[in-house]
Amino acid sequence: MKANILTILALLILLAACEVYNQDTYEEYYVVESYLVANRQLPQVRVSTTAPIDDLYAFSRFAVADAEVQIRLLNENGTDIDEVFTYASDTAGIFQPVDAHNVLPARSYQLYVNVPSSAAEITATTIVPDTFKVISTVLDTLVYQSTEQLEITVSESTYPGRQNVFIFNTLALEPSLENLTPVYADLFFDDDEEMDLSELTNTSSGLLNAANFTINQDQSITIRYPWIAVAFYGDNKLVATTVDDNVYDFVRSESVQLGGSTLSPGEIQNAITHVEGGLGIFGSLASDTIQTHIKRMEF
């Protein structure tokens, strides 16, 4: 019987030995980056490669200069190409559209990149979110942390297959040490790693589902802007953005690579890119911007 146990044990060890799972070595991939914004001109496209993790990294070192780049407007069904927009390189790895074109909301676009030197083809497709507008009256001036908060109402817009997902950015137009709001001032002066003031001039809400906000009868959405978003007194631009699936997936997966979710510390998953033949992001957005002035509290 002891022999049987030992046999089973040996088999188990043998089975385990077959389950080798080692880390692979570095492989190079092409990386693309471009964001269409509804009703704006076609954006630039970046083409580069990945870098080994321990290499000095700069975009210029890994830029791909010899690529052929196109953005293609697809038909209403998103199946066939309606129009092709060619790109030309002005800086290594950065490509600009040759012809002007206003990005059409609620339409599909395809990025096509061909790298002749390696015969690589990279494609990605996005559905541009429908446009929306801030339709409420925006107060010119608000007192920081007063009971009167900024409320904005945005018109109805849709995205196929899901609710809208927003990102709100606050862009400080008068960033200075004196204009820092108390909590950001404390974070700035307490930071051991010498934070750069420019890191606070653009605060982002991260991804927020439309269901967080008040949906009105006409399907417009009213958003109460939280004070947490305001890092500086003075003039601030508030940008409301809706994102496509590519941006949504990329942001939500990339943002937890260094922690912050239920993943165990040290477990890193690849970002979701929806790029065939490479990595990166080809996303699209719709946005609207307002401006207001934030006054200090008076005691």
């Binding site: 964001y35 975009f59 990102i167 997936d249 260094l258 979710s261 040290g266 979701i272």
Partner: protein
């Protein structure tokens, strides 16, 4: 397999109803500690002349049916107690009630200590382990004696880190272990955000861990069951203890009253002076932090055949941390349980136990940042009724059956900026029924067959779980064992390995099927030499339909319930070997575990460029190939005792990124260059090996003649090994740098206990 199991169970059950026409007698009763009156679980009772007997159940009750009238020697034994023997005469038709009081063996020594075969057998049931309260208190502990950290020293049980008391058993995550206190489910048994478990060692009588292949009387989790029993309280004398420790202090009192006994134990952290001192020189110190817990139990012996007890637990952690001007974090979380228990002996052959339980888990985190508040109210309520019956039709069968039905309610409410941002309410009813037969066809064989049926209202799921185990007592020194079981789980825990203060439990529902898995275990329990044991167990377990919160989910508002989860699968297998010296001045064990555990989640760990998006299995962080634990107890003298522990484990799995790139132009991003890591295989690399030695010296004495005292001096991580928890990649430097986040350094601890 399922059909066969049902068939076997049916045959076993049917066979027990054969009428016994002979005029036989029986003997039943409770086994207790003679000093305290505490009932003893799994004590061995036997009639020596006819080699018949059994073990006491969880209530300390035993029964020996179908005995021919005559004069016998009844013997009772239990580890740490003197052997009890008495001559008794059983008259025809008599059903003798014979309660036994065992004298503790105060002179611990290898010549005197008597081992109970039943106790050993119970502990040697496949996949089962016991941690004695004495060991919990003796083991070197990080600031505070802790049940879970003691359990982590067992083979097959792993910890996520020095900071976590979570139990990772046989490749399962912590939510795959059902944790019960006096038969009441405890949903977040942690203090200090997971650093300690909630169980106060002063209040505990018994800790049983079913690591796998557990019988039909338990259910609800894929992996394991941990059953903790509080003390009943001393039925003979008043006694108590006070312990002063570095992290927390404890007080316990117990004693008799006219018709029973009571026990009260309280514990509270005593960190305020330390926090106050630290806050003089450091800004990042909480302005408030404490935890507390209370345990209580009152017993009422209504009659010889009816006993009642009411037990409760209440504990909470509170922290307030102003981390910047105009920014503060507060958290209040904890558990409350209550159980009312009625034990009724219907006859010499039928024993019953009825329990009403209530369990609440709550956490209320609040952030206030720059005038924007965030608040969460998370409440879980679980109320249940349990009934268990044991029927002893004859000497070959012991039938157990029971029901467990209850209502689980989750209320989750998030408010952001004083507006409701997310709320959900789950109100699920659950019920289970089991029947199980322990069949001893011969002295050499024991077969336990059973089936458990489960119902869960959300999704209207009905699940059947066959269970079968067998033991073959080859000789006095070798027992061979095997077990199979199907297990279902209707709950999943949303937690973070580093912080358990925000834990959230969610359930299966329409579109989210309950997880299920099969477990196969074989083992051998041997006694190579007198007083030594060598046990080997091999296990394989599958995990299907695992559901857990999608770790990429940024915001749950407005999503369908099923869209909150990722659904995956896994499997684990391994070998556990334990060599122990059970008694004597020097005792302890060496445990070794060789184990693998794997998980697969769709769209995760997909090869880059894989057009089919085929997910690949990968090991979770807590996967460790090799794991060695050595525990030694040595009585240096009558007053001084040494306990040492050494742990070695293969380094944990982590992901070594192979490449990187950056995105620059995102209109929505607050930073100019957003760095992205590229990974080939998730968790394919290993951190450095983990090892650590802890020592404890305790000195028994007296406290100014008023009572016994014990001084404990402990050192955790005596050679200050800087084990790595995880490696942080830092993009602020170019090329990237890596920083090892290390675990606990050398930590001394001291505690002083006075018993009165």
């Amino acid at each position: 397999m399922t059909f066969k199991s049902f068939l076997i169970s049916g045959i076993l059950i049917a066979s027990t109803f054969a009428v016994q026409a002979r005029q036989t007698v029986s003997i039943t009763g409770y086994v207790r500690d003679a000093n305290t009156g505490e009932t003893l679980i799994s004590a061995n009772v036997a009639l020596l002349e006819i080699n018949r007997g059994g073990a006491t159940n969880a209530q300390g009750y035993y029964g020996i049916p179908n005995i021919e009238p005559g004069t016998y020697t009844i013997a009772c034994s239990y580890i740490g107690y003197k052997l009890f023997t008495r001559e008794i005469t059983l008259e025809a038709g008599e059903n003798l009630r014979f309660d036994i009081n065992l004298e503790p063996d105060v002179l611990v020594g290898e010549e005197i200590v008597v081992e109970s075969e039943a106790e050993l057998q119970e502990l040697k049931s496949i996949g089962t382990a016991q941690v004695k309260t004495e060991l919990i208190k003796a083991l070197p502990a990080i600031f505070e004696a802790d049940v879970f950290r003691s359990i982590q020293y067992l083979p097959g049980v792993k910890s996520a880190s020095d900071f976590s008391s979570g139990l990772y058993i046989r490749g399962g995550s912590p939510d795959q272990t059902l944790i019960m206190l006096d038969q009441t489910t405890v949903y977040n048994p942690s203090h200090f955000f997971g650093f300690f478990s909630t169980f106060n060692p002063d209040a505990i009588k018994d800790v049983r861990l079913y690591k796998g292949g557990y019988p039909a009387e338990y259910g609800g989790r894929l992996g394991s069951v941990l059953s903790v029993y509080n003390k009943d309280g001393n039925r003979n004398n008043y006694q108590g203890s006070v312990t002063l420790g570095m992290l927390a202090s404890r007080i316990a009192i117990e004693g008799p009253y006219k018709k029973g006994s009571f026990m009260l134990a309280a514990r509270r952290s005593t960190l305020e002076p330390l926090l106050s001192a630290l806050s003089q020189s450091n800004d990042n110190i909480p302005s408030l932090f404490y935890f507390y817990d209370f345990n209580g139990k009152i017993n009422y012996d209504a009659s010889l055949n009816d006993k009642f007890h009411l037990a409760f637990y209440s504990g909470a952690d509170k922290v307030r941390f102003p981390f910047a001007d105009d920014a503060e974090f507060t958290l209040n979380y904890g558990n409350q349980t209550v159980s009312g228990n009625w034990t009724h002996i219907f006859s010499d052959k039928v024993f019953s136990n009825f329990v009403v339980t209530g369990s609440r888990y709550f956490n209320f985190p609040e952030f206030e940042f720059g005038g924007t508040p965030f608040k969460r109210d998370n409440n879980i309520y679980d109320f249940s009724l349990k009934s268990d019956l044991e029927y002893l039709p004859n000497e070959k069968h012991q039938i157990a059956s029971g029901i467990w039905a209850g209502v689980f309610t989750l209320r989750l409410q998030d408010r952001f900026d004083n507006q409701d941002s997310f709320s959900t309410r789950i109100h699920a009813r659950y019920a289970s029924f089991y029947v199980q037969d322990t069949w001893r066809p011969t002295d050499q064989w024991k077969v336990i067959g059973g089936v458990r049926a489960n119902y869960f209202s959300d999704g209207d799921y009905v699940r059947l779980e066959p269970r079968l185990s067998g033991e073959y007592f080859a000789n006095d020194r070798i027992t061979l064992q095997a077990a199979y079981g199907r297990y279902n789980q209707f709950f999943t825990l949303i937690t973070n390995e580093a912080f358990s203060g925000f834990d959230l439990w969610l359930t299966s529902d329409e579109g989210i099927r309950p997880s299920y898995g099969d477990q196969f275990v074989i083992g051998a329990k041997t006694v190579p030499f007198k007083d030594y044991g060598l046990d080997i167990e091999l296990y394989y377990r599958s995990m299907k339909d695992l559901f857990e919160l999608d770790p990429f989910l940024p915001d749950a508002a407005g999503l369908l319930y099923e869209d909150l989860f990722r659904i995956g699968e896994g499997y684990a297998y391994g070998t556990e070997i334990m060599f122990e010296k059970r008694v004597g001045r020097l005792n302890g064990y060496i445990g070794y575990t060789f184990g693998y555990t794997w998980r697969k989640w769709p769209t995760f760990n997909v090869g880059i460029g894989d057009e089919n998006q085929t997910a690949r299995f990968y090991p979770p962080k807590y996967d460790r190939r090799n794991d060695v634990k050595i525990i030694l107890n040595y009585d240096l003298s009558r007053k001084w005792k040494f306990t040492g522990a050494w742990v070695y484990a293969t380094g944990q799995a982590y992901t070594e990124a192979t490449g990187r790139y950056a995105v620059y132009d995102s209109p929505y991003n607050a930073i100019d260059q957003n760095n992205v890591l590229v990974v080939e295989n998730v968790n394919a690399s290993r951190l450095p090996h983990y090892h650590r030695a802890d020592v404890s010296f305790s000195r028994r004495g007296t406290f100014f003649g008023l009572g016994e005292s014990e001084l404990q001096l402990q050192v955790i991580n005596v050679y200050s090994r800087r084990n790595v928890w995880f490696t942080q990649i830092n993009f602020d430097e170019n090329p990237v740098s890596r920083t090892d986040v290390t675990l606990l350094p050398l930590i001394p601890a001291i505690s002083y206990t006075v018993k009165f």
